[in-house]
């Protein structure tokens, strides 16, 4: 019997003392001679039992037997994966390493520099030649252009596409229109006559 129970509750057990008594299964003597406390203890025990049954049901309903079986299998599968030794698969390029070369720094061979210099010289020469040939080409094209007949349509290339008449140079009118061209006053002449 606790002092607090004796002083404050005139010998009756507190709620905590009842809980302690029920959970530790040590029955205080007071319960044998006090009907009120005995009734409270029975009430509490019944309530706790009810609570436990309900709590167990709630948890068990959340997990059906099939789910338990599934979980059991999943656990064993995970353990199997853990027990399997990890295999290291070699990268194909590294299967036969070149042992003639040291593993550390790589040194470029001497001929590599000579080859690079030769490539540079060839490149420069090639560039120069290409530039010269490129300059010569437009002159040849101009010659052919002056060779076209300005009076009429240029003869179509055999087998080539027909030349569009609109693309012909209109500064030199065709011969059929030259008379009309002569009759048309020029701008300079018109301005001279206007000026007197």
């Amino acid at each position: 019997m606790r002092l607090a129970d004796t002083l404050l509750r005139q010998g009756h057990l507190s709620e905590q003392a009842l809980v302690d008594a029920l959970l530790s299964e040590r029955r205080p003597r007071h319960l044998d001679r006090c009907d009120l406390c005995s009734e409270r203890a029975v009430d509490l025990a019944r309530w706790l039992d009810d609570l436990r049954a309900m709590g167990t049901d709630i948890a068990d309903e959340a997990f059906a037997p099939e789910q338990l079986k599934l979980q059991h299998d999943q656990i064993l599968r995970r353990l199997e994966q853990l027990d399997q030794r990890p295999r290291v698969i070699a990268f194909p390029g590294l299967t036969r390493p070149d042992l003639s070369m040291p593993a550390g720094r790589r040194v470029a061979p001497a001929w590599l520099g000579v080859a690079a210099a030769a490539g540079l010289v060839l490149g420069i020469i090639g560039g120069q030649l290409t530039a010269r040939m490129g300059l010569a080409e437009p002159t040849a094209t101009g010659t052919t252009a002056t060779a076209t007949d300005v009076d009429g349509l240029p003869p179509p290339a055999p087998g080539g596409p027909a030349v569009d008449p609109l693309l012909i140079d209109l500064d030199a009118p065709p011969s059929s229109l030259s008379e009309m061209d002569d009759m048309t006053p020029r701008l300079t002449m018109a301005s001279n006559s206007a000026g007197g």
Partner: protein
């Protein structure tokens, strides 16, 4: 109270099996070790799920926590001491795992929308979505209502009180065992347990709490 507690013979058997598995693992006979461990999983799975479910309040989280705990126990079986019951050692692993998951969940919940609430303002439990197997619709409804109330009341308990209550009362563990499982003092375990019961009584059975003897009533009763 000790309905769910395995009998001492069962505890000794568990310890013996655990020691056997340790030896098999050390000898590299992993297939046999797994077969023996499967026995332990089968014996403790349901109990572990109950603890995890009441602690996590979510079926999927509880499932993962239990799986992780069994895998972790298997990989750390080398540290298992024979003088400690296997279930106590395993439950400690499970509780630590649940705690880690709860912390992670709290961090996650800071970034997501609040959970769906039922009309009474309580968080809806995934377990409630499962069809119950009540015998009649009325019984089903009553039982559902009582369970909802209990679920809601358990959810309102502080974490430690809930854990101590579940281990002590639902699982029938002694204060000493709960102390070993949770790392709390025995006296702290008893205080948490008492507070949990008092709170649950106040929430679930207000008339019972009102019937507790007060000075005036005791005086009248004593007369």
């Amino acid at each position: 109270m000790s309905e769910t507690t395995p009998p001492p013979a069962g505890r000794e058997l568990d310890a013996r099996v655990a020691v056997d598995i340790k030896a098999l693992q050390a000898a590299g006979r992993t297939d046999e070790a797994r077969d023996r461990y499967s026995e332990l999983v089968g014996r403790h799975q349901r109990r572990a799920l109950r603890i995890a479910y009441h602690y996590m309040r979510d079926a999927a989280d509880a499932d993962e926590a239990v799986q992780d705990a069994f895998v972790k126990a298997y990989t750390h079986l080398g540290t298992f001491r024979e003088e400690l019951p296997f279930e106590v050692w395993f439950t400690r692993i499970l509780i630590n795992g649940c705690l880690d998951r709860l912390k992670a969940r709290r961090r996650r919940e800071r970034w997501i929308a609040p959970p769906a609430l039922d009309p009474s303002g309580n968080e809806r439990d995934p377990a409630e979505y499962l069809p119950s197997r009540g015998p009649s619709p009325e019984d089903q409804l009553l039982s559902q209502e009582r369970r909802q109330r209990l679920n809601a009341a358990l959810a309102k308990l502080p974490e430690r009180q809930r854990m101590v209550f579940v281990l002590s009362h639902f699982e029938g563990r002694s204060s000493r065992e709960v102390s070993t499982m949770t790392g709390l003092n025995e006296s702290t375990v008893r205080v948490h347990l008492f507070r949990a019961i008092r709170r649950l009584r106040a929430m679930l059975a207000p008339n019972v709490a009102a019937a507790a003897p007060r000075r005036g009533r005791v005086n009248r009763a004593a007369r």
